[in-house]
């Protein structure tokens, strides 16, 4: 047994030997070794669980068709964690923060700098609550899903044995809800900033078409033709803009859903192929992906909000 007087070199050697042993044993008990050598360390071999796309219910239906799914439980856990941390950090607030208050303040300040960097001072303050909430919700969902317990604790549900907790963003309803919130909030900010008619003029731009019609009735045929032509193009571009606004909901949903589901499937398949040590870099990748997806969801909402509240003239100038 290692004693107290061990040199650093000895400790490093033992550590490296341990990791190497885990690597070799892990490799030999996985599916890769099974297909290469046709044999594996049977007691350690696991079967591949089939990845499920829809969320699985954990209880019997409560009312109608609705039953608690494992993703709902995970989302509740996220909410409890976020609210609990914020509550604990603000209980005894000091002017010079320390401990948990310091951590929360640092995170919020980083977020505020990011939001104000993209949207400017005043608008940044106005957009900050929703953007920061979206960011914190997505990132907590993603990172909680990596903890042990998510995917390993099973329960008896109406559809057989299912895992009790699952990354909330792998249920397509959660990214859809976030995308709808983002859409509604961006439209609300746009409408409240420039007014209803001015905002709608982005999508329904009949100005030049009407001008062309007027010129036609007055007999100026050549200018009428060009006006009607460019008016028709304006209407078409406006309709395209409206379509792309709606398509944003779809793209937000599938970006977040796809990244989280693909990550979950990756973390199921890699330990099946080569158990133990090799899965560690993939956990690192999933940490990064969770952070980047949260940043992208919040950041894209922010960018579209900035575009929506830009005064009409400035937008045409920028475009």
């Amino acid at each position: 047994m290692p004693g107290r007087g061990m040199s650093t070199k000895m400790k490093v050697t033992i550590l490296v030997a341990l990791v190497l042993a885990l690597l070799i044993v892990g490799f030999l008990s996985g599916e890769l070794a099974k297909s290469m050598f046709d044999a594996t360390i049977e007691p350690l071999h696991i079967e591949l669980e089939k990845p499920q796309l829809p969320a699985q219910p954990v209880t019997d239906p409560l009312f109608g068709d609705f039953s608690l799914t494992n993703t709902i439980l995970a989302a509740w856990l996220t909410i409890i964690l976020l609210v609990g941390v914020c509550y604990a950090a603000t209980r005894k607030m000091r002017a010079v923060p320390s401990g948990l208050q310091n951590l929360v303040e640092a995170a919020l300040e980083a977020l505020l700098n990011f939001v104000q960097g993209v949207a400017g001072e005043k608008n940044g303050r106005r957009f900050f609550p929703v953007i920061a909430t979206i960011f914190l919700f997505v990132i907590t969902n993603a990172w909680l899903g990596l903890l042990p317990g998510f995917g390993s604790i099973t329960a008896h549900g109406p559809e057989g044995e299912v895992t009790l907790l699952r990354n909330a963003s792998t249920d397509i309803n959660v990214p859809l809800a976030l995308a709808l919130v983002s859409f509604v909030v961006v439209e609300f900010w746009g409408l409240s900033a420039v007014g209803f008619s001015s905002y709608m003029r982005r999508f329904v731009n009949l100005g030049r078409l009407r001008l062309g019609m007027g010129q036609l009735l007055r007999g100026k045929l050549k200018s009428a033709a060009t006006s009607i032509f460019s008016g028709a193009i304006d209407v078409f571009v406006g309709a395209l803009e409206a379509l792309s606004e709606v398509m944003r909901i779809v793209s937000f949903t599938f970006r977040l859903f796809g990244n989280m589901t693909a990550g979950e499937i990756l973390l199921i398949v890699v330990p099946f192929l080569v158990p133990w040590v090799v899965a560690l870099p993939f956990y690192g990748l999933e940490l990064l992906v969770g952070f980047v997806q949260a940043l992208i969801f919040a950041g894209l909402t922010l960018v579209f909000a900035v575009i929506a509240v830009a005064p009409h003239g400035a937008k045409q100038e920028a475009a």
């Binding site: 796309l53 970006r255 990244n259 589901t261 499937i265 992208i296």
Partner: protein, 76 residues
Amino acid sequence: MDAEAMKMLGAGLAVGVGLVGPGVGIGILGYGAMQALGRNPEARGAIMTNMILAIAFAEALGIYALITGIILAMVA
């Protein structure tokens, strides 16, 4: 060819061909960002923000292809 084989083939093609576009697109974006950064290192913040944004758009298209492949291979 039976349905199972077609599904597997479809999944492979969906992901393989579908990810060429986003791959090339992200490469071009990175190239543009590196050039801009080389010319004007002071504008690092704006360049990085816009690059990450554009990469998110390109990557979303790749994710659509991946979802199609996953659905074909594992759910359908």
